[in-house]
């Protein structure tokens, strides 16, 4: 198995021989991951796709930087994350996002949806939405198995121990809020 850094070097060597960076290979390799990261922030398919396109446009504009990058994947995810956060700030709040809509309309629920209904998912996602930005980012990024702890730390610009602390706080806060929601619901 090739590590992320080695893969990046291989990709760059191929691109260098051709004289121009091979962005097509880069898109094939990373567009899926970038889409999922963007989608987990914006929770809207068209907006997430726009973020992916914008991310690769940025790569094209800053292609001179590529050979100096230590971790291309972390760099790409960071660009996508920042673009997605910008979009979320500009977007009007939608009454029901696409994740919840898909979950509710799904005729054959998957592994994740077997354990929770669309209503429950909406509750968790809404609670997640209200987390502080850094905690929310760390929590979302830990869901991606491809990203190591070191990469997540690089993406959010913190140390690994700080990332662990943020993750712990995020989960605790989330559980606390879910408990409060349940208590409120029980009392109503």
């Amino acid at each position: 198995m090739i590590a992320a850094g080695e893969q990046h070097l291989m990709w760059w060597r191929e691109a260098d021989e051709a004289g121009e960076p091979d962005l097509a290979a880069l898109i094939t390799q990373f567009s899926g991951l970038i889409y999922r990261v963007a989608f987990s922030v914006v929770r809207h398919a068209a907006e997430a796709e726009d973020v992916v396109q914008e991310t690769f446009v940025r790569v094209l504009e800053h292609r001179a930087k590529l050979p100096q990058l230590e971790n291309l994947r972390a760099w790409l995810v960071r660009i996508a994350l920042n673009l997605a956060l910008d979009r979320v700030r500009r977007m009007r709040p939608v009454p029901m996002d696409e994740v919840i809509a898909e979950t509710a309309a799904s005729p054959a629920p998957g592994v994740a949806t077997q354990v929770m209904s669309a209503v429950e998912l909406a509750r968790v996602l809404n609670a997640m939405e209200r987390l502080p930005k850094a905690e929310r980012m760390v929590l979302v990024l830990t869901a991606f198995e491809q990203l190591s702890a070191a990469e997540i730390a690089g993406i959010v610009g913190r140390s690994q121990s700080s990332v662990r602390a943020l993750l712990f706080r995020a989960r605790e806060r989330l559980k606390q809020r879910l408990s409060m929601q349940e208590t409120g619901k029980g009392g109503a």
Binding site: I27, S40, Q53, A112, M116, V124
Partner: protein, 204 residues
């Protein structure tokens, strides 16, 4: 205690499930092609924009330089020197240049002469600023009439005043050495026994 633990685990499970839903979203079909098309279009834009920009900048620089040269030429032709014009207007009204050269009390050069005489260059420019064509005669006469007369040599009274002004200036002594009260009296046809009241000396 056990119930609390179970409740905590259930919440963790719900959080993990929500994160899995987010992380396992499948990208829409044709995403890669659309992204590649967008990148290709952007690259084309970059390639076509650069030479066009360079050409545009070159033409802009040339046209700007031409416009500046034309403007200078027109201004030079219609308005030879605005500074000289304002200077001449000041001179015509007051007889004194708007910004006369500063002369200290200890200067050897005669200050009043400098105050009324416009600089040589300014006079030359004024001459070029005079109207040409049919208006030349009338306007020229008016300007000549209002223009200060060329400086005449100092009269004896002026010299006396100058001497008083430069009372403490030793360099001016030879200049007024020959000037005596009797000469002034004789020159102006005054009686020989005319007495002059002493002038108040400026306090030091």
């Amino acid at each position: 205690m056990i119930f609390e633990r179970i409740d905590e685990d259930a919440k963790d499970e719900r959080i993990d499930a929500a994160l899995r839903v987010l992380a396992h979203t499948s990208p829409p079909i044709g995403l890669e092609e659309r992204v590649q098309a967008r990148v290709r279009a952007h690259r084309r834009d970059l390639v076509t924009q650069r030479p066009a920009n360079r050409r545009y900048v070159g033409w802009a620089a040339i046209s700007l330089a031409t416009a500046a040269a034309l403007a200078l030429l027109v201004m030079e032709h219609r308005n030879p020197l605005p500074a000289a014009r304002t200077e001449s207007a000041t001179l015509a009204v007051t007889g004194v240049p708007s910004n006369p050269p500063k002369v200290s009390h200890f200067d050897a050069a005669p200050a009043p002469e400098m105050a009324v005489r416009p600089p040589h260059a300014a006079r030359a420019r004024l001459q070029t600023a005079l109207p040409r064509g049919p208006e030349k005669l009338e306007t020229g006469k008016l300007q000549e009439a209002s223009f200060p007369a060329p400086p005449a040599p100092l009269t004896r009274e002026e010299k006396l005043l100058l001497e008083m002004a430069r009372r403490n200036n030793s360099a001016a002594q030879p200049e007024v050495a020959a000037l005596t009260v009797s000469e002034v009296v004789k020159g102006h046809g005054l009686a020989a026994d005319t007495t002059f009241a002493p002038l108040a000396t400026p306090s030091e």
